[in-house]
Symmetry: C2
Subunit: 415 residues, 2 copies
């Protein structure tokens, strides 16, 4: 969908709010992509929501390719369910938001969804013939974080893509786990952060030695990882010791320490949730067996924040093509009838092929350039009076800053 | 997107849970569209989420056609903001869910969003030149209902499409209000409940005499309306008296009393929120003026519930074409190699043109027919061994029950 910038209700601002300490939120607020509701709680404004939806759709496509079936679980959680896994306790899960029903009873706001998903699935797995399958959602999580100063990277309310898989055996889980891992590589690649994102060994649980996190190198990160840039091997500080390095056959001498942002994680749950929640199936011999599970998370808003944090420059945001709010930012310089008519014509032509934000406002060229660089659409197409005389347009690549003049007839070449 | 029914993880069930008293939820649970988390809280399973997304997209298209700009506000609400409008008080808004921040302070879960939307918009309306515009979202609302026994029609957690418009004058608001009203008529028409849905006079507020509700006639409704079926005039019981009838020039003798479900409402807010929240603009004379507002709601899940409540029959759900989870339900009867090969071929062919649910399970014909009728996909295409001999297929219209035989070559005619 295309848009005239004169119609866009948000405006850019020179300064971020003084209480905003994170680079990603400061840039996103200045560019009008998000609004700060309170510390750790942000609203998505039109440009920000477009990016969020694009990231979600990249993820959705990969989940569907895995055979994942999309569902939407509730935020409100019954105490009784979480007591079965001993996770209702605030000392076990220390980020609960809890509330009360008017007609009695305590409820929680889901910080994650293993319990209700396992409980819901239980009714649909009478037999091994019903396995394996996987279920995912884009759903809001609520976490009562004490610190919330990393912009949209760590928030008290955020959309999460959580995928859960259900299997009759560890072997089936292992195979699916590798497929999800490949899908995650694709996702971060498409989102433009593939190069700096490392599949990282992290702590496992009762049922597997290690889990994996996807960590994007960034000084804004809260995690510490040891990476081998060449071989792309990485290990989280929490499991970094000589014994583990030996076990994983990792050469310590080639590792460098980096700060990083956890953009995704994949985890073999085994029967950790299916046992206490009695999610059982009958195997080929007719015996009741607990379902073997895996879970796999990505926070689309955290990916958005990581893109801003790691790819922006001193002028503003630089969106990778696939997640940009628009493909092309068309800037009209000058207010003569001639340039207005020509710019409209180009807007219409481009709109047939790509998504265009058209800066049709009567503003000075300098303001328009600054806004365009702040907003970060990958390609700027500039229509000015000078160029019109020679029937040319300026094309600027936001990332490289490279500018070239093209003849009006070559317009199709940029799309 | 197409799907093999053997892969769908949900299954149908003969009986709804014994505690489920509403017809819509009972059918939706039996068909595997939703799962009951607790009274008034439901999860959307793959088939249900497909329908919900289709309803949302019908609404989204109409909102975009109005020039509405999509945003996504937070669930968590700051007390201070709602105190400014005197709506933090539990006696004023009696459906609040409230919770506490770990590091101090009370938060609410948004039951509606006038306050944060008005507060957010305030920074973007320096001048009358920035008006009018409109903003909408699909966002979860939380309401601490004491009674929650109407299935997905009245829930404690539900997605709402809420549109808000901002104007410099009542005249501008009035014009936009009428456009929204027309858009709502289109939406309910496309969702298949247009015929039984009435634009209904309801109580206004300080700033306008009446608001309008869209009420769908149904015995499951909680509202009472007086309607003139012929002229399509309707009035809510809450404003039904001789004075109002005279004012509206409504002929009492032609009205009949009906129960109904409120599927949408449109409301002129005037400056009710912009004044206390200081959402002001400078008019042409440079004076500060409060922004004039309207708000317009539709609950997509309530629309879904209303469709099930009003259009289903004794065999199950009957989805209108535009919101159906699939366009075609392909049923394979028999398990011979020949019928399997032919059914696969038809599945592929249909999949190129429409969304197909393919019942490829090895089950008795009777079970497949019962499931298909319960699920309610508009067109059933039946491939059986008998028909194959004559190179024919059976096509069944779910709504009318009408069955016809077509030649295999006529397959394209049904799409």
């Amino acid at each position: 969908m295309n848009m005239r910038q004169s119609q866009l209700f948000t405006k850019t601002r020179r300064e971020a709010p003084s209480d905003e300490v994170s680079k990603n939120a400061a840039l996103l607020i200045r560019a009008g992509f998000i609004n700060k509701e309170m510390a750790g709680v942000y609203d998505y404004l039109p440009l920000g929501l477009r990016v969020l939806h694009k990231i979600e759709n990249i993820i959705r496509d990969e989940m569907n390719a895995l055979g994942g079936q999309e569902v939407l679980m509730s935020t409100l959680q019954r105490k009784e369910l979480w007591e079965k896994t001993n996770r209702w306790n605030d000392e076990i899960i220390d980020v609960w938001f809890k509330t009360n029903l008017k007609n009695g009873g305590e409820l929680g706001l889901g910080p994650t969804h293993e319990e209700p998903i396992t409980n819901m699935v239980e009714q649909f797995v009478p037999s091994y013939r019903n396995l394996p399958f996987s279920v995912y959602q884009f759903q809001n999580k609520f976490r009562n974080e004490i610190r919330a100063s990393s912009g949209v990277i760590r928030t008290r309310e955020f959309v999460m893509k959580d995928l859960y898989s259900f299997h009759e055996s560890d072997k089936s889980l292992d195979q699916f786990y590798e497929k999800v891992s490949d899908a995650y590589v694709n996702i971060f690649e498409k989102c433009g952060i593939g190069k700096n994102t490392y599949k990282t060994f992290a702590s496992g649980g009762v049922f597997s030695k290690y889990s994996h996190e996807f960590q994007t190198v960034s000084d804004a990160g809260e995690d510490t990882v040891y990476i081998n840039e060449e071989s792309k091997v990485a290990i989280n500080k929490e499991v970094y010791n000589d014994e583990v390095l030996f076990d994983l056959k990792i050469d310590k001498s080639k590792l460098v320490e980096k700060k990083s942002i956890e953009v995704g994680n994949i985890f073999k749950l085994g029967v950790k949730f299916s046992e206490p929640l009695s999610c059982k199936f009958k195997n080929e011999s007719g015996e009741d067996m607990p379902v073997v599970m895996g879970c796999y998370g990505i926070g689309p808003a955290r990916v958005l924040g990581t893109i801003v944090e790691t790819l922006s420059d001193e002028k503003g945001i630089v969106w990778p093509k696939e997640v940009a709010p628009f493909d092309v930012h068309l800037l009209r310089l000058g207010e003569t009838e001639e340039v207005k008519v020509k710019a409209e014509e180009i807007y219409k032509k481009l709109s047939e092929k790509v998504e265009v934000l058209y800066d049709d406002r009567d503003l000075r060229a300098g303001e328009k350039f600054a806004d365009a660089d702040l907003l970060g659409v990958p390609i700027q197409v500039i229509v000015g009076e000078k160029g019109l005389k020679e029937n040319t347009l300026e094309i600027k690549d936001r990332k490289t800053g490279e500018v070239k003049n093209i003849h009006m007839d070559e317009l199709h070449s940029i799309v």
